[in-house]
């Protein structure tokens, strides 16, 4: 670049000659040079601004276009995913402890109509009634010919029915896919499973929600997409549950009982192997709750969990166990059970007005003496008795994995007087559910730890809070065994298995208050087997049983609940894999007879 000099001699010399100031020329040149520099800088800045503006314009334009494209296009699932095939069922299966299906899903269809697309409404209505006899033809015709644009005809239809509807050939009848809950075992474990129904419904899908039982308790877990490929494993055992329900139903009809309940519980893990309540229902077609009458008369009522009853003499073992724990008595201590025994103005009597005289604590349990237990309870006192029963869980509903369990709130006296102490010591005045009793007996059976009953399969024994010493639990078990060997539960002997247990017969309180019925009882047998080292606790409760084989009708648990329980033990113990104590048989007696006969 050629720089113009600021003081060019060609102009300076003539200017000097004319006597002008040559500095004016220099200033003029400096001005010109600065102007040129300024113009250049401005052009460059303008160019930069232009580039920057263009860049921003293009960038915002691209973002805007992209947003427009995203807003315009149909949403699409990502095509590649690792777990794409995993989520299919919207509700996890429920299986028993060996993986047998208790509840699963089944694909079916719903039927809906769009009347404005119908060609022959009369013919369609007639044909539909032939396929579904429970529909009303006039009603359908009114819906089809009215102003409605959409109506559900059937929520669930079978494939055969779907084909039949297809064959009508009506374009206004449409099908929507549905997933329905299926309980393949019918009424088995109905109260545990509860049932399921549809929640929000659309044409293409419907929510399946649990309405009762464990289906409702674990609704979130069962519907959680992250977990619904993994079945919910219960502690129930399907064959055992089936056998117990069968025997219980038989026992209920033989004993003319209104209802029955049975609970079989593992004493170490707290797993409930079987829980049954009769009468029951089919969860596939859950009946509606009763509108009138007592809720307890509905088949939906779960006697094992919701039913709170005075469970009678089964409580006596808790009284003696606590007295032994406190060191007040030993099994051989002599207790005065002679009348009169008056507490708070009430006379305490015995069954059939017996008088046992002076007997040992063991005999109090074996003969089920109310007066004997009452005297022991007075030594314990109300506060300590309450604390002990509280530690066994008799003061609040059992924390159990069924939505109904919170309804089993025990009924406790408002004022815990000496009379309450005495009556509660033999199971009157405090109402609790059979499940409470099962947990209490499990504490005796497992050596003195309270285990929480659970419906889920466990990995190992529960730690549990210690409520009594192992020695006291062992002494109590000996007494319970003696009750079956020589006491009130003599019908409870099962060949091959040693059973220990305690009977309880409580008069039913009248519904509207004012005393007890003379001829209505709750008969309970709380038992454990094998008695020397109990693995399971079995509670059997019969509601209003009468045994009529004798001259006089018999209602005591020893004649009603005990035979049913012993039959259950005989059927169930082999299924549970308990080895019976068998006598030595001669070698020739056992051969493969079934094979020899079959050929």
């Amino acid at each position: 670049m050629i720089r113009t000099p600021l003081r060019p001699l060609a102009r300076i010399l003539p200017a000097r000659a004319k006597g002008e100031n040559p500095d004016a020329i220099e200033r003029e040149n400096i001005r010109l040079r600065h102007e040129a520099m300024r113009d250049k800088a401005r052009r460059r800045a303008e160019g930069r601004l232009l580039v920057l503006g263009a860049t921003f314009f293009v960038a915002f334009g691209v973002i805007g276009l992209r947003m427009g494209v995203l807003a315009q296009t149909e949403p699409a699932e990502p095509r590649t995913s690792a777990a794409g095939a995993g989520i299919l069922a919207q509700r996890a299966d429920i299986v028993d402890r060996s993986g047998r299906i208790l509840a699963t899903n089944f694909d079916t269809h719903s039927l809906y109509a769009q009347p404005q697309q119908m060609i022959e409404p009369e013919k369609t209505a007639r044909a539909l009634v032939q396929i579904f006899p429970d529909l009303k033809e006039e009603r359908l015709l009114k819906d089809f010919s009215g102003k409605r644009k959409f109506l559900w005809v059937k929520k669930k239809i079978s494939p055969e029915q779907m084909q039949a509807v297809h064959d009508i050939g009506e374009p206004g009848l449409l099908f929507g896919p549905r997933e329905m809950r299926l309980y393949p075992n019918g009424t088995l474990a109905a109260h545990v499973l509860g049932g399921a129904g549809f929640g929000r419904e659309g044409v293409h899908a419907a929510e399946v929600i649990g309405v009762a039982g464990i289906e409702k308790y674990y609704d979130e877990r069962l519907r959680d997409p992250a977990q619904n490929h993994e079945p919910l494993t219960l502690s129930l055992d399907l064959p055992v549950q089936a056998a117990i329900e069968r025997v219980l139903a038989g026992g209920m009809s033989i004993m003319n009982a209104k209802g029955a309940a049975a609970i079989l519980m593992d004493v170490q893990t707290g797993e409930v192997i079987s829980i049954a309540s009769l009468p029951d229902f089919d969860p596939n077609d859950r009946p509606r709750p009763l509108v009138q009458g007592k809720a307890a008369d509905s088949p939906l009522f779960n006697r094992a969990v919701q039913g709170v009853y005075e469970l009678g003499s089964t409580f006596k073992i808790f009284t003696t166990a606590q007295a032994m724990e406190l060191g007040l008595v030993s099994p051989s201590t002599i207790i005065d059970a002679t009348p009169p025994f008056r507490v708070g103005g009430h006379s305490i009597g015995e069954f059939n007005r017996k008088n046992y005289g002076k007997i040992s604590v063991s005999d109090v349990i074996i003969h089920s003496s109310n007066r004997g237990t009452g005297r022991i309870a007075l030594q314990i006192g109300p506060e300590r008795q309450q604390d002990f029963l509280k530690s066994l869980g008799f003061f609040k509903p059992v924390d159990f994995e069924m939505i109904e369990a919170s309804g089993g709130q025990p009924l406790i006296p408002k004022r815990w007087t000496d009379l309450s102490t005495v009556t509660i010591s033999y199971g009157h005045g405090l109402s609790s559910s059979p499940l409470h009793l099962a947990a209490g007996y499990a504490a005796i059976a497992n050596g003195g730890r309270y285990v929480k009953p659970t419906l889920l399969k466990q990995d190992g024994p529960q730690a549990g809070v210690r409520v009594m010493s192992a020695a006291v639990a062992a002494e109590s078990r000996k007494m319970l065994r003696a009750v079956v060997v020589s006491g009130t539960a003599s019908m409870g002997e099962v060949p091959g298995y040693a059973v220990g247990g305690k009977t309880g017969t409580a008069d039913k309180p009248k519904e509207n208050g004012g005393g007890y019925y003379d001829d209505k009882v709750i008969a309970t047998f709380a038992s454990m087997f094998p008695a020397d080292d109990p693995k399971y606790v079995l509670i059997v409760t019969l509601d209003e049983p009468v045994e009529t084989s004798g001259v006089k009708p018999r209602r005591t648990a020893g004649w009603t609940a005990v035979p049913v329980a012993s039959e259950i033990v005989a059927r169930v113990a082999p299924l549970l894999g308990l080895r019976p104590e068998i006598e030595q048989t001669p070698l020739a007696a056992i051969t493969l007879t079934s094979m020899a006969d079959g050929d």
Binding site: R79, D107, L188, R246, Y497, L592
Partner: protein
């Protein structure tokens, strides 16, 4: 030298473009293959679920009990009892017969669409 450099870069661009398109087509093919397989897995799982449900339904205790009652003359099935337990050394060795069950000629009982042969 400069022209050689231009030719080489043009060739490199063509080669890389060919490679990129090739990879793209291969990915597309793999995705649609995976989709097809996922569809088949879904059908198979649905079929499995129906068959499981059917198996559970056919093996429900009430039905098995009825079947045991109906076939009592032939099978003589009884509930398991304590008396039926024995000691292992009391049992004779079984005769050597073939106990395998013949499954040939079995009938497909599911109404689900049969799945196409896997590729």
């Amino acid at each position: 030298m400069r022209s050689f450099f231009y030719v080489m870069s043009a060739l490199a661009v063509i080669g890389l473009a060919y490679w990129a398109y090739h990879e793209n087509y291969r990915t597309q093919a793999a995705i649609s293959h995976a989709e097809r397989l996922e569809g088949q897995i879904a059908t198979a799982r649905q079929r499995l679920r129906v068959l499981n449900a059917e198996w559970a339904y056919l093996n429900r205790p009430a039905r098995l009990r009825e079947l045991a009652d109906i076939n009592f003359d032939r099978l003589g099935l009884m509930p398991l009892e304590a008396q039926q337990f024995g000691r292992i050394d009391d049992v004779e060795y079984p005769p050597e017969t073939d106990l395998r069950i013949d499954f040939s000629g079995s009938v497909e009982i599911s109404n689900q669409p049969k799945l196409e042969a896997a590729e």
